[in-house]
C-alpha cells in the first residue's frame, strides 16, 4: 500500500513558503518605498494611491521647511518625532543623505511641515501593516 502523504504535502508547501516569503518581503519593500508592498502583491491602484498620498505629504513637509528628526536619546518628543520620520523609509534616508529637513521651526508653516513628515511616516507604518495582512491572507 502506498502512502499518498508526500505527494499531497509537496504542492501545499510551495504556496506556504511563497506566502511566508511575501509576508517578509512586502512589509520591507513597503517601508522603503511607500505603496510598493501593495504593488508587489499586484494591488497596483492601492499601491499607487499610497505612494502618491504618503510621498506628497512628505515632500510638502520638506517644501514647507519642516524639520527632520535624527536618532537621538534626548527629549521624549524628539524620540517620537524620529520614530515617526523613520516610517517614511527611503524618503527619510534620502533626505538625511542630502542634508535636507534642516528648516527652522520658528514659524507656523514650518511646524506644519514637520508634522506633515511625521504623519507621512506614521501613515506608512499603517500601509506596511496592511501589506503584511494582504501577504498572510488576512485581507483581500
Amino acid at each position: 500500500m502506498t502512502n499518498p502523504t508526500p505527494a499531497k504535502t509537496k504542492p501545499a508547501t510551495v504556496p506556504a513558503q511563497s506566502a511566508s516569503m511575501m509576508s517578509v518581503l512586502a512589509p520591507a519593500i513597503g517601508w522603503f518605498i511607500p505603496g510598493a508592498g501593495h504593488m508587489i502583491q499586484k494591488r497596483w491602484i492601492r499601491g499607487a494611491l499610497l505612494l502618491i498620498s504618503i510621498g506628497t505629504l512628505f515632500v510638502l513637509g520638506l517644501m514647507m521647511q519642516g524639520h527632520i528628526y535624527k536618532a537621538n536619546g534626548g527629549d521624549i518628543l524628539d524620540i517620537l518625532g524620529f520614530v515617526g520620520d523613520l516610517g517614511a523609509g527611503g524618503m527619510y534616508i534620502v533626505t538625511l543623505a542630502m542634508n535636507g529637513g534642516q528648516g527652522a521651526v520658528a514659524f507656523a508653516i514650518a511646524d506644519y511641515g514637520t508634522k506633515f513628515m511625521i504623519v507621512a511616516g506614521l501613515l506608512n507604518f499603517i500601509a506596511v501593516a496592511d501589506a503584511y495582512h494582504i501577504a498572510i491572507g488576512k485581507k483581500q
Binding site: L49, L50, I109, D130
Partner: protein, 60 residues
C-alpha cells in the same frame, strides 16, 4: 524650493491624503474604502471647522 500654505489649505491637504490612506488600509472592499475615506475626510475638515469656530467663540 519652498511653499507657503494657509492654515486651511494645509489642513485640507492633510485631510485629503490621510483619508486616502485610512480608506485603503482600514476597509476590505473598494466601495467600503471609498465610503470610509470620504467619512474620514469629512470628519477631518468638519473637526477643523468646529475647532476654529470654538476658538473664535472662546476668544470673544
Amino acid at each position: 524650493m519652498t511653499i507657503q500654505l494657509t492654515h486651511f489649505s494645509a489642513a485640507f491637504v492633510f485631510a485629503l491624503f490621510a483619508s486616502i490612506v485610512f480608506g485603503i488600509t482600514h476597509r476590505e472592499t473598494t466601495r467600503d474604502m471609498v465610503r470610509y475615506g470620504l467619512y474620514c475626510f469629512a470628519m477631518f475638515l468638519g473637526g477643523v471647522l468646529v475647532a476654529g469656530w470654538a476658538m473664535w467663540l472662546v476668544r470673544r
